[in-house]
Amino acid sequence: MDRQARSLQLLLLAGLLALAAFPLVGEKFYIQFITKVMVMAMFAMSLDLLVGYTGLVSLGHALPFGLAAYALMLVTPETQAAGIWWSLAASLGIAAAASLVVGLLVLRTSGIYFIMVTLAFGQMAYYYVHDSSHLGGSDGKYIYVRPALELLGWKPFDLENSTHFYYFALALMVFVYATLRVLLASPFGRVLAGIKENEHRMRMLGFATFRYKLACFVLAGMLAGLAGWLAAAHDGLVNPEMLSWHQSGQLLMMVILGGMGTPAGPIVGAVALKALELVFQGWTKHWQLLLGAFIVLSVLFVPRGLTQLFAWRRRG
């Protein structure tokens, strides 16, 4: 492994250790803030599977995220906790099903059409949820009790506790990261890389590329669903904004700014963007102006993302 890759690896390891140690010294506000960032990082990693690994630029990735969140809301009773496994199954199931249906339609297009139709379907879901009073309409609905895990009367952890939730999210984030690394190196991952580089040649070599893209789309949707479940459980609130294209757009920003096609890039991007938001919000009410300017300048001057600074080379 070359020196630059090694230094990035070490940095990530250091980051992981810092994250693991943080709740021992941090305030509750920051524990919750970092939990949110970790959930965003998972969400961003799921989009990177589409954008960075396979070259499918989706502007509608908020769809499975938001639907999974709403699924948790729907299966959570008014005053009780939903079971973790059962609610996860529901959220991931809805995310996968929605991604399957949408994927069958949108993967018939490519390039700029693909960007536009994913955006459009995302908006369709947004309007459906926004206009449905039984789903809470534009205000959304609350989730009063976080999901709970109970094994024969024993509760190994309590998600109502911020620190427990933090470690739960951290574990899942590491899990998603590891999953993507394994995927990247697997035969499936190599097909995705080939599709991104030269889909035509892949077909000519005998690969039925459509089904691989569809599988990728569904998988990415499920991972986004996982992030959606976590976001809903953590915030205790689901609203249509979780399905908005602003959500999708922000997410794309994180992936691109952090560096695409690398497992760590989205994490860096999520951290950077959330940190920037926090900073800008502290300066002015009109912080989106600064964020927008930052994005424009980044694209013009640092095109390959922040991890470019480490010159991480993808192994061919």
Binding site: V182, E197, R201, M204, T209
Partner: protein, 250 residues
Amino acid sequence: MAEPLLRTENLRRDFGGLTAVASVSLECHAGRVHAVIGPNGAGKTTLINLLSGELAPSAGRIEILGREATGLPAHRVSQLGVGRSFQRTNIFMSFTAFENCRLAAQSRLPSSMRFLRPAARYRELNEAAERALDLCDLGSQKSSIAAALSHGERRQLEVAMTLATRPRLLLLDEPLAGMGAEESARMVELLRKLAPGHGMLLVEHDMDAVFALADTLTVMVDGAVLASGSPAAVRANAEVQKAYLGETGD
């Protein structure tokens, strides 16, 4: 003679009002090289696109290895045992030469929906890639990024990738395109080495290569077959001389 690897019957392809390929019937046999020549715009590349499945014929039939292949999409044609190389180099530029061939070999796995074991650990794929690279004299370059290879080496890689899929029939579209004298000679040697083990349909402009390799020669002009037969017979054909060979004098 044994079953032909490839057989077309009155193959035709129209683009709106233009007929690019009109009523082409030809055959390819194992161990034989069938060269297709003709001036630019004769429909040679369209023909290859029809055979490889990139284009669907407007009329006519294609039979590959005894199976009905008319209108099959490209990836299905490939899985029948057909390898196609491109006139304009069509490889994975950011992958190493080895990875290019390894991925090509991976296409022969029953399915690539495998998510756990790293692809690099599939020994049979690594061996297939090595074999293909060695056959094409690229063994020493296997760790080079494709974009860093010379034009001639990339053309060789183009062929190596095709070989890594273990095809029985090779459709080669101007493999010598853009090559200098030395590189061309090497490529001709490679093709000569490959000929006995495969059936080969070769589209080329380089007449020296064509006459050195071809067992059967077909001349196409304006989408139709002008003459077809042994190279000597075709060369002596008056019409062919008038329409093509005499003028270009390659």
